[in-house]
């Protein structure tokens, strides 16, 4: 079954190549981020990242060794399993700087919220592949997707992890818009939004309003998020055309960027490699997303198509939010940059996604 000639012939090496390039970019950037300036203090973090890539590769291979259409049947179970893990993390998760996002399995810990993104994509792909139609989804047909998205949304918000929660909603919304919402339903939804938002705003207490405003505009928090963003912009801007050179990023060296190896990794990259480097990375990401959409284009089966679109949406939003945030365009939320930010769960999830895309692509001529 696995070694059908057609599968090997249709293997999408380009996609794998793009993922590999981004992985290298990530390793190099992380190496720089954790090596503090002239002291050359090296953390074993970048070694850990390499190990995660390795594990990710294994996960990826597993992800294309079976027919992806089986996921159509397993989607509900995977989703329920994911929800259980999310509930579990709320009770048994490790506390790290005030939030519980990780479950530990012996020497390693992982974030269930990363996996649930994939689970939601799967279950929405399953649902939409059955219900999508020319006219678009009606309000009633939207009930299931909304529930399926909101349950993990609230569980993740409780952790608290606002970034991943918002990401989840954006991915679901993108997939939903992709399969078209009935015009009338869309109209109703928008009216509801326009009416409820002022009402909700009215009911919020003063300090809650402040927090939302500060969130939307980091400038209002000059000692906290506002400071991080301005340091990030300085880092990026100071890269200019050619960058300061590998390991020569001063903002980075002076530890003025918080979370350099995770959320602000792009700033490190832009500072050291300048516009040339940063623009190339952006182009590689764009190519990756377009490649995903291309795979969707070539797929004959609705489930596979919507699944690919969902994965593309996930990569797109993470790239847009993360890079947009470090450049000061988007409010400050912690979302990892795919393949580049440090983080085992993110790497593994992304590699599984690549694996699934390869899976869909490999089997586009098989019609069982």
């Amino acid at each position: 079954m696995m070694f059908d000639r057609r599968l090997v012939a249709c293997f999408n090496w380009g996609l794998l190549g793009l993922a590999f390039v981004l992985g290298c970019v990530g390793c190099i950037a992380i190496y720089s981020a954790v090596t503090s300036g002239s002291n050359g203090v090296q953390h074993p973090l970048y070694l850990k990242q390499l190990i995660w890539y390795g594990a990710g590769l294994a996960a990826m291979v597993v992800s294309f060794c079976f027919n992806y259409k089986k996921l159509d049947r397993w989607a509900v179970f995977i989703y329920i399993f994911g929800i259980l893990l999310l509930i579990g993390v709320l009770f048994m998760g490790k506390f790290v700087s005030g939030s519980r996002r990780w479950l530990s399995l012996g020497p390693v810990s992982f974030q269930p919220s990363e996996l649930i993104k994939l689970a939601v994509i799967l279950i929405l792909a399953r649902y939409y592949s059955k219900h999508a139609n020319l006219k678009g989804l009606t309000l009633r047909q939207l009930l299931v997707p909304m529930t399926v998205t909101l349950i993990p949304f609230f569980l993740i918000v409780r952790q608290p992890d606002l970034g991943t929660a918002i990401l989840l909603v954006l991915i679901a919304a993108s997939m939903t818009v992709f399969v078209k919402i009935e015009r009338r339903s869309l109209f109703y939804l928008m009216i509801t939004g326009v009416v409820t938002i002022p009402m909700v705003w009215f009911y919020l207490k003063g300090y809650q309003k402040q927090r939302i405003l500060t969130f939307l505009s980091p400038d209002r928090d000059p000692l906290g998020a506002g400071y991080h963003i301005i340091q990030s912009k300085i880092a990026i801007g100071s890269g200019m055309l050619y960058g300061k050179g590998f390991l020569k990023g001063t903002q980075n060296a002076l530890n003025f960027l918080p979370e350099q190896h995770t959320d602000f990794i792009f700033s490190v990259l832009a500072e050291e490699w300048g516009f040339f480097g940063a623009a190339i990375v952006l182009i590689v990401f764009l190519m990756l997303i377009l490649w995903c959409l291309n795979i969707a284009l070539g797929c004959r089966d609705p489930f596979g198509t919507i699944l690919s679109v969902g994965i593309a949406a996930m990569i797109f939003w993470q790239v847009f939010i993360n890079i947009g945030m470090v450049m000061g365009l988007v409010p400050v939320v912690g979302v990892p940059l795919p393949f580049v930010s440090y983080g085992g769960s993110s790497i593994i999830t992304m590699m599984i996604c690549i694996g699934l895309l390869l899976n869909v692509s490999m089997r586009r001529f098989m019609f069982e």
Binding site: S238, M240, F256, A296, G324
Partner: protein, 623 residues
């Protein structure tokens, strides 16, 4: 149908995908444009800013709230102190700068290098404190030569100053540097290493309001680290001022009276539950903690056998002795095992089982009813009352009177005391309760443990007709500009389970303790103030002491504790108090006079509550 459906879908999907591709490209164009702007259009400016990290954060700490007594008399304030700090990266050449520094102020190069070596390279842009609290001369010397000393800065810091030193030290508490456990616990969000927080007493209990909110600004600095301009600012919010319920005059008098002894005094208002004085002796000087207490001093404090760091008023658990008879009397009357006419004969002892329980009056009191038994503190009467009640019923009444659990005063480390029940003893020791032990407990010996504040609150409740208030120590919280943030409202936490008749009888007995012929506290009597009270002598450990007594030689730390609880005036009381002297032997001789003097001070100058209130309002206006 299905095939048609599928082919139709494929074109439809193609359409949707084209839309998706378009959206993705638009979004990336936005990102590109932004990147272009940051790096190529504004790149040079950012490059300049990144050099020497021109944009930094400067925090301003708000002044900590002050603490006053109920009349607005200042108890705790802040005074300015000057800290000398250095930013290594700006202080180039470092050796030169340090040499010049040592010429100006009293310090050695080794001292400075010692401090510097503690920090690794990454913090070369942070302010490193070289010396705290430098005097005004050093301040002047350095300020005069400022331009010769790059990278050196003097920060003004507020230092806590406890005006009356040892007075009310346990109540007010002290500050200390936050430690890593406290930082990790999540209780102190937004606090950083090096911050001072309240560690004890009111400083800790009211940390939130006292602290205020830190402010700061983003500043742009030049190549030597000097500020060019402030970019954005967040105003600090100064700490709120706390007005305690205590009256400094009464507090200091209580401490004066406790001088040289180990013990505690708690005075509360029976009308509101406000704590008028809370003194614990021996005490300590919180000013010693302000700059970090010296190790030797700390060792001396914690190894002192009289435990100066302990707030005996709320942490000290002692057997109540005869003051417990108030509870036994209430229990006996309410349960109907005795009434106002019941009488027992006291020959000086009481035989129970195979033991003889002695009365403190060896010659015996003769026939006693409940009022005279309280007056003369007859053990035999209460042995028999206790025996009829049994330990569990007695325990129920004790707990209903607030004993055996914390009073809920807003301070840390309050001890609950102990009221034994048959069940408790079985669980604790595996040995069932012996009926004879009830007799000991009935007169406040044996397993019973109470704290001075519990007894003060109990006395206040008996005095006011049965209402048990939560003792409050904060009267009100005000912002620096005088706006009221919060005022404490008296809170009733329970009622004494006694009818007015029962209480009237008990109060009659308590009145006779001071004013009656056979009262055990006749020497507490004052001419123009009507006091009621109860003495107590709590044995430390019976059998050993008995032996020593017989041999006529009791060492101090085996002497009994002396108790005295009182309220005045007997009708419509304004003050209720509890005095405990560790190893003071007899309540009447040691504790009683302290209560008397304190009550005298309270009423001195014809001060009644209304006058005090009027005085208080006036002094706040003036203050």
């Amino acid at each position: 149908m299905k095939k048609y459906f599928e082919t139709l879908d494929i074109d439809w999907y193609k359409q949707r995908l084209t839309g998706a591709i378009f959206c993705a490209m638009v979004a990336f164009v936005i990102l590109f444009l932004r990147l272009f702007h940051l790096q190529l259009v504004a790149g040079e400016n950012y490059r300049r800013l990144s050099e020497n990290n021109c944009i930094r954060l400067q925090y301003t700490d708000p002044p900590r709230g002050l603490i006053y007594d109920r009349h607005g008399v200042l108890l705790v304030e802040n005074r300015p102190s000057f800290d000398l700090s250095i930013i290594l990266n700006d202080a180039k050449p470092v050796d030169e700068t340090i040499r010049k520094l040592t010429e100006l102020i009293r310090t050695t190069p080794d001292e400075i290098y010692g401090r510097v070596s503690q920090i690794k390279g990454a913090a070369s842009y942070n302010q490193l404190i070289l010396k705290q609290d430098i005097g005004r001369e050093s301040l002047a010397a350095i300020e005069a030569r400022k331009y010769d000393l790059p990278g050196i800065a003097i920060g003004v810091k507020s230092r806590r100053y406890y005006v009356n030193e040892n007075s009310a030290a346990h109540l007010i508490g002290y500050l200390g540097e936050i430690n890593s456990e406290e930082l990790k616990s999540g209780d102190y969000k937004g606090f950083r290493r090096g911050d001072s927080i309240g560690k004890f007493g009111i400083e800790k209990a009211c940390e939130g309001p006292l602290r205020g909110e830190r402010g700061g600004s983003q500043v742009e600095v030049d190549a030597t680290g000097r500020m060019i301009r402030a970019l954005k600012k967040v105003d600090e919010k100064p700490g709120a001022n706390i007005y305690l319920t205590i009256d400094r005059r009464i507090q200091m008098r209580a401490e004066e009276l406790l001088e040289g002894k180990a013990g505690a005094v708690v005075a509360v208002s029976p009308r509101t539950g406000e704590v008028i004085a809370m003194a614990s002796s021996p005490s300590f000087n919180p000013n010693a903690f302000v700059s970090g207490i010296a190790h030797k001093e700390w060792q001396a404090l914690i190894s002192n056998p009289q435990r100066p760091m302990e707030n005996k008023a709320i942490q000290g658990e002692y057997p109540p002795g005869s003051v417990y008879k108030i509870v036994t009397a209430i229990a006996g009357l309410e349960e109907g095992v005795i009434d106002e006419n019941s009488s027992f004969f006291c020959p000086g002892f009481y035989s129970f089982g195979n033991r003889v329980f002695r009365c403190w009056e060896k010659r015996g009191h003769g026939t006693m009813d409940v009022v005279s038994a309280i007056e003369a503190s007859c053990d035999v009467f209460f042995y028999q009352t206790g025996q009829k009640l049994g330990v569990d019923r007695l325990a129920w009444y004790a707990k209903a009177c607030g004993l055996g659990s914390p009073t809920g005063v807003a301070l840390d480390h309050e001890a609950p005391g102990l009221i034994p029940t048959a069940n408790w003893k079985l669980m604790r020791t595996g040995v069932p309760w012996q009926a004879g032990e009830t007799l000991s407990v009935a007169i406040g010996q044996g397993y019973d443990l109470v704290t001075p504040i519990q007894m003060a609150c109990l006395t206040a409740a008996v005095a006011n007709g049965g209402k048990r208030f939560r003792p409050s120590i904060v009267k009100k919280v005000e912002t620096v500009d005088g706006r009221l943030v919060e005022a404490t409202v008296p809170e009733i936490v329970g009622l004494i389970p006694a009818t007015p008749r029962t209480l009237a009888l008990v109060k009659k007995g308590l009145w006779r303790v001071v004013n009656g012929e056979r009262g055990t506290a006749r020497r507490v009597r004052i001419e123009d103030i009507d006091i009621s009270g109860k003495t107590g002598t709590a044995q430390v450990c019976s059998r050993k002491v008995e032996k020593m007594k017989r041999e006529g030689d009791v060492e101090t730390h085996f002497k009994s504790h002396a108790w005295f609880v009182a309220f005045a005036p007997s009708d419509n009381p304004e003050i209720a108090l509890c005095v405990l002297i560790e190893h003071g032997e007899h309540g009447s001789t040691t504790a009683g006079p302290i209560a008397r003097e304190l009550i005298k001070t309270y009423f001195e100058g014809g001060t009644s509550e209304n006058v005090i209130k009027a005085q208080g309002d006036r002094s706040l206006d003036e203050g």
